[in-house]
Symmetry: C2
Subunit: 389 residues, 2 copies
């Protein structure tokens, strides 16, 4: 949105306010002089911008920096712990969760309710979610925070504009209009859990990556591509469909119409079947336990899945030349067994060696955190959008 | 480069100069008022910027617009036909070519010399190229143009910074430092021919595509990915390696170390071999002729190549969700036979139907035009870089 503003004085001021706020959020506490040095503006210009951000409640002045530093002490700035906040929610197959994140990215309130959402209608699920959102919102307001929006992560293909769930096979939802069911009173956005998971990795994963492929798994294979610090959405919003990259073009038929898609080798159902288990009955944790106990069928199934992931990711790496690949979501507990065959294929099939494949530290929390952070990022990107106008 | 400028008055002026120049180059002739309407600045602000661009020789005033329009006639502006120009060059396997393009994108001078460069040392090739560059430069200057830079398209893997050819199998060059061999007197850039081909398609192809996969072929498979109107280069500059996307993971060994890479099915050598021809002996035109005559072995080889291209591109489309796929370079004369099997695979294996696969209108000229245009784009992106400073 900021980028679309015409290049005028007013647009420049908005962008510079965002730049100051981002800098303090990422590196604060910082003095005005330190902010000025980081963003290449004069200290006078920065002071004017800072005063405006303090008045609007985005920044706090912490008082003089502690002595012992060279030069006249400046007053340290930090993002307000009582300022705007983002609410994130996740509709999981086996849980609902909601959290509130402040401008510094700290989780300030959080509830998780274990609940089996398989084949449950959207209406009661979203009613239950709305109650949890209220709970977290009240808790956040009690801390002096002002929630400015809500973002909801859904395990399925989502049309974000409407918002509309095209297909969420884990939940059994197809063509479901979420609009009338979402909590009111706040701007709400909806996105796929794999997208929010990748954004969480980008914003809070701690790695220096701005270019990576993030692979998670709900029921199929959730994946997302981050390039130049931006989520690749694609022309129709369908980018990141790693699950339907062909692994063996004459392989088993896939519901998508193709054959031998990655999902037929590394999707949850395929892995469960290959391990001789009834699909969906065994949570990921139990699968990991059986693998740790040396169950041969489970180990073989995971080897096959890891190697198929490696073949599909070789294609992605050859096309995108990313800094690395990150395994997240419900795949992370299985990483110990998936990674060796995955790395073997990637090393054989891609030109440059040592392409790091890492496991996300966020694990299953990624989508929830990504959702809440997306609300906060919108504030940091254009703080003026929240003020007087 | 412009993007890295701090957001100051001076930076804003530079960006607005670029915006005015781009607008007139793309849509001119235009009056000052029309430019102002298109970029969202006031007419007064635009007039100041226009005057500066006229003084520096980037824009020409064509005199009053012809009558018949409503309102007071404004003076129409066009990019100067005697202003800065870009020189492009291509080192082909069977030719050397050089051209000069003016700010409007029109080719103003051009030479092509057929010459067999296979296994010829870099030094004499570049000496011959330098003579052609001089010839075109003199011709451009005689037209009143001022060449501001030279860009050279090379059929191989290039490190652009040094500049250095890592591997150009068609020419037989490996680890070749082009620095001392390139023509002097002008800033020179070097890039892979597949990249310049894709950029030409983006800038001059006439399609509305800003997101596409461009597939050409020199000896292997040259490809490039354009996203959001920008060439995807990747972390190490190796993005777009479609030729090493796995098609059949247990297929024939590839020199890259992998197995069953696309290049083993659709690369020139593989197609020639499958058609029962001696590799490299039959130019693409002859192959097309044999296919047109109904040669069964050639038709079968092209079917196999098209279908392998379709499988690899299905992976790319699932990952990137582009607007379309463009077949260019030396593949274009074979499109008639490659497209049906290619489209069949793509339709089966990708979620959204009607993903257009088109054939570039630029054909084999793409890399040369892309190179010359890249010089002109740099001028349009930051005209100030050429003036007084």
């Amino acid at each position: 949105m900021t980028a679309a503003l015409p290049d005028t004085q007013q647009g420049m001021r908005r962008r510079n306010l965002a730049r100051v706020l981002h800098t303090v959020a990422a590196h604060g506490p910082l003095s005005r002089a330190a902010v000025a040095a980081r963003i290449g503006l004069t200290r006078a210009a920065v002071s004017t911008l800072v005063d405006e951000l303090i008045r609007a409640g985005f920044l706090d002045e912490l008082g003089p920096e502690r002595p012992g530093r060279v030069g006249r002490p400046g007053s340290a700035l930090a993002v307000s712990a009582r300022g705007p906040a983002g609410l994130g929610a996740e509709i999981g197959v086996d849980h609902l969760s909601v959290c509130a994140v402040d401008l510094s990215g700290t989780v300030r309130a959080r509830v998780v309710r274990p609940v089996d959402n398989r084949e449950r209608a959207a209406k009661p699920v979203l009613a239950e979610l709305a109650a949890l959102v209220d709970e977290v919102r009240v808790a956040a307001e009690a801390l002096g925070l002002r929630p400015t929006g809500l973002a909801v992560a859904v395990p399925g293909l989502v049309e974000r504009d409407r918002p509309f769930v095209v297909r969420a096979p884990n939940l059994g939802w197809t063509d479901t209009d979420l609009g009338p069911l979402l909590p009111g009173g706040l701007p709400v956005t909806v996105d796929n859990e794999a997208n929010f998971g990748a954004l969480a990795e980008l914003w809070t994963g701690g790695g220096a990556h701005e270019n990576f492929v993030h692979v998670s798994a709900a029921i199929g294979i959730g994946a997302a591509v981050v390039l130049g610090g931006e989520l690749l959405r694609g022309t129709r919003g369908f980018a990141g469909e790693l699950g339907h990259v062909p692994v063996r073009p004459e392989g088993p038929s896939c519901p998508c119409g193709g054959r031998g898609c990655l999902e037929q080798y590394a999707g949850q159902e395929a892995v469960w079947r290959a391990a001789g288990l009834a699909p969906g009955q065994e949570p990921v944790g139990l699968l990991a336990q059986r693998a740790a106990e040396g169950d041969k069928a489970v180990l073989k199934a995971l080897r096959g899945a890891g190697s198929a992931l490696g073949i599909a990711l070789s294609g992605a790496v050859n096309l995108l030349d990313p800094e690395g690949v990150v395994l997240g979501g419900s795949l992370s507990p299985l990483a110990e067994w998936l990674l060796p065959p995955l790395r073997r294929e990637l090393t054989r099939r891609t030109a440059t060696a040592n392409r790091p494949v890492t496991v996300s530290r966020l694990g299953r929390e990624g989508p929830l955190l990504g959702a809440a952070h997306s609300v906060v990022r919108a504030v940091l990107d254009d703080p003026v959008s929240l003020t007087a106008e």
